[in-house]
């Protein structure tokens, strides 16, 4: 147990102390406490040099719409897939969750986005993330809706509720736990993604936080800026850690009920 705790403790400790050290001390990363504390200075430098605020905003501008679309579109599709029974429905369902296993064809996505005029744009990035993570949300939500008794819907229908109303007032509220899980998972993936962001957005104006971190760390070779790299790591990770701490219970129950039924 002690070894296991060290295995997580040591790397996290390294991040924490290095992000508070002045550059001269951080050149050779070690586990010593900073002789001279300057966390504020490092974060300030990361903000000004590493364009952290812009990166943060750019990340929000692609991650939030992607998550929203994945959830809304995914819930609608999952409802139909869970309730209707025909060969066509099963085929559409199988196709839609194929993204769980199949790797996205990132090179030809770029080609397609260029033809659509979406290359290097936020809508292009949002479309790619939505397409990629829809499978996850559809898979989790369909399983979840199948467990909701149809009688609930039938009762509402007898009262004259329209499908849209039933969906909004019965299905969506009941989906809350699985929505929490899907939100976290998609957010986590999209927030830390660099691979697809690199192909679709590239560097420049619209670069997200991970792309900025990559840039800062690539300069590491001649600038020796571990102190900035780790300041960046902390800022990038904190929102996810905060969300996790707030929604911990729901996430854990959602992940586990989806994975092992």
């Amino acid at each position: 147990m002690a070894i296991a705790a060290l295995a997580v403790g040591v790397p996290l400790w390294l991040v924490a102390v290095t992000s508070a050290k002045p550059q001269a001390e951080a050149i050779t990363p070690n586990l010593d406490l900073p002789r001279h504390w300057q966390p504020g200075g490092n974060y300030e430098e990361a903000v000004s040099q590493g364009e952290m605020l812009r990166g943060f905003l750019n990340s929000l501008l692609v991650v939030v719409p992607s998550v929203a679309l994945v959830l809304i579109l995914g819930a609608g599709a999952a409802w139909v897939f869970a309730r209707r029974k025909s060969k066509l429905v099963s085929a559409a369902y199988a196709l839609c969750i194929s993204g769980l296993l199949l790797p996205p064809a990132v090179i030809t996505i770029v080609m397609e986005l260029r033809q659509l005029g979406l290359a290097g744009t936020r809508p292009g990035m949002i479309a790619v993330y939505t397409g990629m993570y829809l499978s996850t949300s559809i898979f989790f939500m369909t399983g979840f809706i199948r467990a909701i008794p149809v009688e609930l819907e039938e009762a509402a229908r007898m009262d004259g509720a329209t499908p849209l109303r039933i969906f909004r007032q019965i299905i969506l509220p009941l989906l809350r736990p699985v929505i929490a899980t899907a939100t976290i998972m998609v957010m986590l993936y999209a927030w830390s993604d660099i691979f697809y962001a690199f192909f679709v957005l590239g560097g420049g104006e619209k670069a997200t936080l991970p792309l900025n971190l990559y840039k800062v760390a690539s300069a590491q070779l001649y600038l020796n800026n571990w102190h900035l790299v780790f300041a960046y790591v902390v800022v990038m990770s904190l929102p996810m850690v905060a969300i996790f701490l707030v929604a911990q219970r729901k996430i854990v129950s959602g992940i586990t009920s989806g994975a092992v039924k």
Partner: protein
């Protein structure tokens, strides 16, 4: 959106006994769960996931690159190029080794942690959260942390007083990177194994105890078989997911030393950066085919195993 569909429906309120009567000539399913709820998702998924994957069956056979204004059909040239310069076989081997080892480490660490932290106590709950932290830190960041730890003038050598080039071996660095991969994702595996352990009925464990089974015996005869669904999920996601790895490798080694850790996605990243789009696309197609060839038997095999146990 399809407002009309709703309005016609509101004008004809559902019959007093919802069942049995049809509204208009539409079958019930079409009225109650109309397709247009699913169509936006299907459209986006098709446009930005399926179509690119289909295109990926065409561009590998062209000379598409930043040097050609027009795209021309060139047959198997790209396949020949990557086979001749050795990158095809190397990428296949590296990626498969990576996926296998990453799955072993991720599941091994995850299972051990789950068994250690099985009982619900304050202490255990705290440590579960601690071990989940790496999952929340981006893979790129994780990679940099371990670079700082394992660099020749990094923290580990400083601590041990050694001078080992941890990330400089053409054989062992790949293994080390998969350990880091396992480290990053062990929290998720742990969580799923914990859920599996929670699902084991208490009477079963008690019965085993009454029959005089020790902890080892209980594990192999009761816990392990009952963990089959969790294992299926964990192994599948770990194996398939790590075939798509990029960030950790890029941040720790960048594919080196001597291309010994160049997995598919690192290759695509590098070659795309050189403007050789069709060649990168060829590698992407090979990755696709290998994942399909691996995933289908894997999923079916593990499912069958679940039913046998």
């Amino acid at each position: 959106m399809a407002d009309t569909a709703i309005r016609t429906r509101t004008q004809k309120p559902a019959p007093a006994k919802g069942r049995g009567r049809k509204v208009g000539r539409l079958p019930r399913a079409a009225v109650h769960h109309p397709w247009w709820f699913a169509l936006p998702a299907i459209a986006v998924f098709a446009a930005f996931f399926l179509v690119p994957n289909l295109l990926n069956f065409y561009y590998p056979f062209t000379n598409w690159s930043s040097y050609h204004p027009d795209i021309a059909f060139t047959g198997l040239d790209n396949f020949k190029t990557i086979a001749d310069d050795g990158s095809l076989l190397r990428a296949i081997r590296t990626t498969l080794v990576y996926a296998l080892l990453a799955a072993v480490f991720q599941n091994g660490f995850g299972l051990v942690l789950a068994l250690l932290l099985e009982e619900d106590s304050r202490f255990n709950r705290f440590f579960r959260a601690v071990f989940f932290l790496p999952v929340l830190i981006s893979a790129l960041a994780t990679g940099y942390v371990f670079q700082a730890l394992l660099n020749q003038d990094g923290a580990v050598n400083g601590l041990l007083g050694t001078n080992i080039p941890w990330l400089g071996s053409t054989t062992w660095t790949l293994v080390l990177v998969t350990v880091i991969h396992g480290w990053k994702w062990m929290g998720l595996s742990m969580l799923i194994y914990l859920a599996g352990l929670k699902g084991i009925p208490g009477e079963m464990l008690e019965a085993a105890k009454c029959d005089g089974a020790g902890p080892w015996r209980t594990f192999w005869s009761v816990r392990w078989p009952m963990l089959a669904p969790a294992l299926t999920f964990n192994v599948t996601t770990a194996l398939i997911g790590s075939m798509n790895t990029f960030d950790i490798v890029q941040a720790t080694t960048g594919g080196g030393p001597a291309a010994s850790t160049e997995v598919f996605n690192i290759y695509m990243f590098r070659v795309f950066g050189q403007g050789l789009y069709a060649q990168a696309s060829t590698m992407s197609l090979v990755l696709f085919l290998i994942v399909v060839a691996l995933a289908i038997p894997l999923v079916f095999g593990l499912r069958r195993r679940e039913q046998l146990l």
